[in-house]
Amino acid sequence: MAETYTFTAKDLKEIEKITAKYPDKLSAVLPALWYAQDKFGHSDPSVQQLVAKTLGVPEAHIRGVVSFYTQFYEKPMGRNVLDVCTCLSCQVSGGYDMLHYIEEKLGIKAGETTPDGEFSVQSVECLGACGYAPMLQVTNDKFVNHLTREKVDKLIEDLRAGKKPDFESNPMPQHEKGS
């Protein structure tokens, strides 16, 4: 059943600020969708409708955009989305092992959500962390690098308890040596 979503006056102000960065409203579609998804957790058709109405852009256009970009969720997802990289450097560094371990641990396959709505798992393309493989990203936000089974166990435990991962900095190895 589709819910109705609304923007508050404060939201509309924020979206106006976004729109001001561009010469036309159409160009604000991506940032406005991000704003909506951050607030509602997904970009399903009713969220698409709201964004369309707010920007004065045809709903069909918004739908086209949402379906083109993988980070926009066309339907509600688990509270935590684990995007496990299995591409190239991650593939040759155990990315699939980590994906399968997570699938086993949560009892779901990539592309599915746990029945309690806590976790969704996806196998994704290169996330730009090739030197820190295998790795995953949590709900379009922080990267968790150098995955091991232990690190995955801890991450899932933390996420269940509502604790999000911290930003992991990966300095240039050259710096550690040189100074």
Binding site: Y69, C126, G128, G131, A133
Partner: protein, 429 residues
């Protein structure tokens, strides 16, 4: 190449604590190149800045290696209406993870470079397009932009001059194709990232139909170095045909993966064995993907004396790309690897052109069949025929990027492919 690299001090990402903070950056010669230009505008007219950058021969670090100053010179004369610079931080080519180092550790160098570029091309607005997956890095860059605005390096009447420019970040949302420059512009305009047919080129008709230049983040970070020390100085770093510092992203089967900064033209075996600590577990090297997934893999025996610059890599049978080097050890299954690369391109094809949309799908399906042990010898011919029908026949270079790794791997690792194929095309039982 000698051992000079051992004494090389990084300049794009120097080892200075808290350099991301504007006051630290300023204390370390930050924004001096911009000041130098704005203080002496008779010497540093926009045209002269373009020329200096052109002479320095900064080869684009986004993959194509095009001379940045030459690209800037394609911008038409100003006509009083808006002109744009789009900075490409999409960084989605598998094996590439270097621009994020600038966002995290030295964002002001990039910002300063972009401001100088805007001055040289008389541009009013800069958009920085960054892949949506880099949200934490976008936040870091945004902080730096805010600081630069507060200090008067961005905004109206920069440092008291009559030169004004705004800088905005724009967050992508998960689409490799948006790194292609015309797709990037479509995405910035709020649409699906469908690459545009060229010509017209972006300098003629870019963002919102106005003249636009697109440069990679690392390319722009080289600009302040050139403007501060001069083109001649810059040309002395690495080979003259491909000069300057390079952020080498080394991943895969090495002991010390990571991003390293050294001059262009580094010896590949030195990078693998000395810089990155050699192949993991004492194993033998099998192959190298030198500059991201679209650059043809080179067998270990093809790497002797090859250096990381466009010319040497072309001679060796590959490309510099993004300098994202993926090191592969003797146990790597090349068929699995190439299948996964094909899966990537199939997933990322925007679907506009038939040869790409269908071709990437057929490459993936055929490779999957071989990888799963169901392939036949003639499938190798089929793969090569598909590559042939994709290359050079599409709107953008994604189709070529998808075809090359397949074509060259079959050529260079043919035995491995054949071993997985059934020896006959007929049913034998």
């Amino acid at each position: 190449m000698s051992n000079d690299w051992k004494s090389y001090k990084p300049m794009l990402v120097p080892a200075i604590r808290d350099l991301h903070d504007i006051s630290v950056y300023e204390k370390n010669n930050g924004y001096q190149a911009l000041k130098k230009i704005l203080k002496d505008r008779k010497t540093w007219t926009p045209a002269n800045v373009v020329n200096e950058v052109k002479t320095a021969n900064i080869r684009g670090r986004g993959g194509a290696g095009f001379n940045a100053g030459l690209k800037w010179s394609f911008m038409p004369e100003p006509d009083g209406k808006p002109r744009y610079l789009a900075c490409n931080g999409d960084e989605s080519e598998p094996g590439t993870f270097k621009d994020r180092k600038l966002f995290e550790f030295n964002p002001h160098l990039f910002i300063e470079g972009a401001i100088i570029a805007a001055y040289a091309m008389q541009i009013d607005v800069i958009y920085v397009y960054i892949r949506g997956e880099y949200r934490p890095f976008i936040q870091k860059l945004q902080k730096a932009i805010d600081q630069a605005c507060e200090k008067g390096y961005l905004g109206k009447k920069i440092l008291g001059s009559d030169f004004s420019v705004e800088m905005y970040t724009h967050m992508g949302a998960g689409a490799y194709i948006c790194g292609e420059e015309s797709s990037l512009m479509e995405s910035l305009e709020g649409k699906r990232g469908y690459p545009r047919v060229k010509p017209p080129f972006p300098a003629q008709r870019g963002l919102w139909g106005r003249p636009t230049t697109i440069n990679n983040i690392e390319t722009l970070a080289n600009v302040p170095l050139v403007m501060q020390h001069g083109a001649e100085w810059y040309l002395d770093i690495g080979p003259k045909t491909h000069p300057g510092p390079v952020l080498y992203g080394i991943s895969g089967h090495v002991n010390r993966p990571g991003v390293y900064e050294y001059p262009a033209g580094m010896d590949i075996m030195t990078l693998i064995n000395e810089v990155a600590g050699g192949v993991r577990g004492g194993k033998k090297l099998k192959a190298l993907i030198p500059g991201g997934s679209s650059t043809p893999p080179l067998r270990a025996d093809m790497l002797d004396g090859v250096t990381m610059d466009s010319e040497s890599l072309r001679e060796a049978g590959s490309m510099m790309g993004t300098a994202g080097m993926v090191v592969l050890d003797e146990d790597t299954d090349m068929v699995d690897l190439i299948w996964r690369i094909s899966y990537f391109y199939d997933h990322e094809s925007c679907g506009q052109c038939t040869p790409c949309r269908e071709g990437t799908g057929w490459l993936e399906k055929t490779l999957r069949k071989i990888k799963d042990g169901n392939g036949e010898m003639r499938d190798l011919d089929l793969l090569l025929a598909i590559c042939h029908r994709m290359e050079g026949r599409t709107i953008c270079a994604l189709a070529d990027a998808a075809a090359w790794p397949v074509r060259y791997s079959i050529d260079r690792f043919r035995e491995e492919f054949e071993k997985k194929c059934k020896k006959t095309v007929y049913a034998v039982a």
